[in-house]
């Protein structure tokens, strides 16, 4: 069905078109201005960080070279051939590396659990709705902030000197960082709980700890567990580099292989780390979906 669109007379059309053009121009100018600011910031930052595009362009080919080289044998019977031709030779240190990766997972696990327990107790003190003294609350909040802002590797560096080399400082460093990160998330969960059970428990004479135990914990347990699992996933990655500063796990062997140019070993260890991280990601994702499902049912 053909219809003719009515066309407004020119004198009424003109101001409308002008208004539209002005509106569009305003948005454009704003966008352009923000991009200009961004460009200036980028240029200043690039100057600060000594970015050298020319050098980058001349070296960009070496990226491919490096990737090619780590996947090629540089010694032994298969020298010069890709690692895939002799997987046994490539993964010669598998049992050793597997044990170190197991250690890495244990470091991540112990760090996450210890940190989660500390965060659990501190989060109730930091939450606004449980009526702790404001001084306590603010103090705990600042402490958690400090714990999560200082990177775990800095804690690890200091702990390695205080406690000696080995996985123990790695666990403690991860635990402290985890306390800070989870403590914030946990206290946010606590601040969002339904207040009625809390009123019920206090009304029947429950102490502060009983209130937390019977009115708050049942509401937040599955959320806490889900956040802790997510943190475990992150900590596995973090634990894989703890060895760089001497704090245990697979990192020690990786940094040695990279620094001493044992190319095939670098790729072998990297592949093992990536596979482990992927497996852990998949497993924790399953568990978390399961937890979310139980929460939805409750």
């Amino acid at each position: 069905m053909p219809t003719t669109l009515p066309r407004l007379p020119e004198e009424r059309l003109r101001p409308l078109a002008a208004a539209h053009a002005a509106a569009v121009r305003e948005v454009r100018v704003k966008t352009l201005a923000s991009f200009a600011v961004l460009a200036v910031v980028v240029v200043v930052a690039a100057w600060f960080a000594e970015v050298d595009i020319v050098k980058m362009a001349s070296r960009i080919g070496t990226v491919g070279d490096y990737v090619g080289r780590i996947f090629t044998f540089d010694s032994g019977a298969h020298v010069g051939r890709p690692v895939i031709v002799a997987p046994g030779e490539w993964m010669w240190g598998l049992s050793h590396w597997a044990r170190l990766i197991g250690d890495t997972l244990l470091i991540a696990y112990a760090g996450t659990l210890l940190g989660a327990v500390a965060a659990f107790f501190l989060s109730f003190m930091a939450a606004r709705n449980l009526g702790r003294h404001p001084m306590v609350r603010v103090g705990v909040k600042r402490l958690l902030e400090f714990c999560r802002t200082v990177p775990e590797l800095v804690f690890a560096l200091i702990f390695v000197i205080a406690f000696g080399l080995g996985p123990m400082p790695g666990v403690l460093a991860l635990a402290i960082h985890t306390t800070g990160a989870l403590g914030k998330l946990f206290s946010e969960v606590v601040e969002n709980v339904d207040m009625k059970p809390i009123e019920g428990t206090t009304a029947t004479g429950g102490s502060w700890w009983q209130t937390v135990r019977f009115a708050v914990v049942p509401q937040v347990a599955s959320n806490f567990a889900s956040y802790a699992l997510l943190r475990f996933e992150i900590n596995v990655r973090g634990a894989s580099v703890m060895g760089f500063v001497g704090a245990g796990g697979i990192g020690q062997d990786l940094i040695e292989a990279i620094r001493k140019f044992y190319y095939a070993d670098v790729s072998a260890i990297l592949v093992l780390i990536i596979l482990t991280v992927m497996a852990i990601d998949l497993a924790t994702e399953r568990l978390r979906h399961h937890l979310i499902a139980t929460e939805a049912r409750a």
């Binding site: 050298d52 709705n129 123990m168």
Partner: protein
Amino acid sequence: MSVVIRTSGDLDGPMSDTRRIRGALGPMARENRAALEKRHPAIFAGSRLGRAATTAIFAGLLGLLVFALWRLEFSFARIGAGIGQLLHFLTLMVPPSAGTWARFWLFLHSLGETVAIALLGTLAAAVLAFPLGFLAAKNVVAQRVLHFFARRFLDTIRGVDTLIWALIWINVVGLGPFAGILAIMSSDFGAFGKLFSEAIEAVDRKPIEGVASTGGSRLAEIRFGILPQILPVIAGQVLYYIESNTRSATIIGIVGAGGIGMFLSEAIRTLEWQQVSLLVAMILVAVAVIDQISSRIRFAIIGERRIET
């Protein structure tokens, strides 16, 4: 009679109310506890199966922790000695000081370098991940194989820690902040690809259909149908990552990829504790400032919406 309207800021309210009620109801309930238990046996007994499951889970967690601590050679003697050492270090840390002014300016410059690394690395990652986000989005590229490989590729990149990327890039471009930028870029590239593709998959179909109905091409659909919807989301995510990367950029200097981390690890290793506390304080201040700036910009762009990370 007066009516009290409680604002949302008054979070302490219910608790102080209940505290008043507790004075009256609590003792009454405690006195009648036996009678109450008889009247509601199910509530007091709880579910035996649920309790057994909880106990089993906690026993398992604890058992694994004990095994981990044994395997990782934890010893209380070492912890005690170490804590003594730490306290000693703490006393050596005050007052924070760089030693000389020249050294302080050096620290300040490297702090600027750290922020620059975080900024440039994150922006470069966003620019690179932008096209890949479309490739990995189901509703743009309806090609299951391509989609699968794009996702797995991003997962692989995400599995490698920033510090490992830094070591690899140092081999390629040499020591210095440039390797740090590339390291942040590589590890965020994976995360951004995933986040962007999820944002693209969550868009409203109607604007796209609108563009298509007026005869727009596939490219016009993306430009006028999808882009306006995802740009604010993406901007928010990029800002959030700049914030969190400022933290990770402070450590890549430990392996020689530029920034304040180099001075920090050097100061720790040479036991210059006054410099350590100054550097940590500088990092805390810088992170707090960047947090403030980026959350301001973020709220200006997207309002107080929660960022999915």
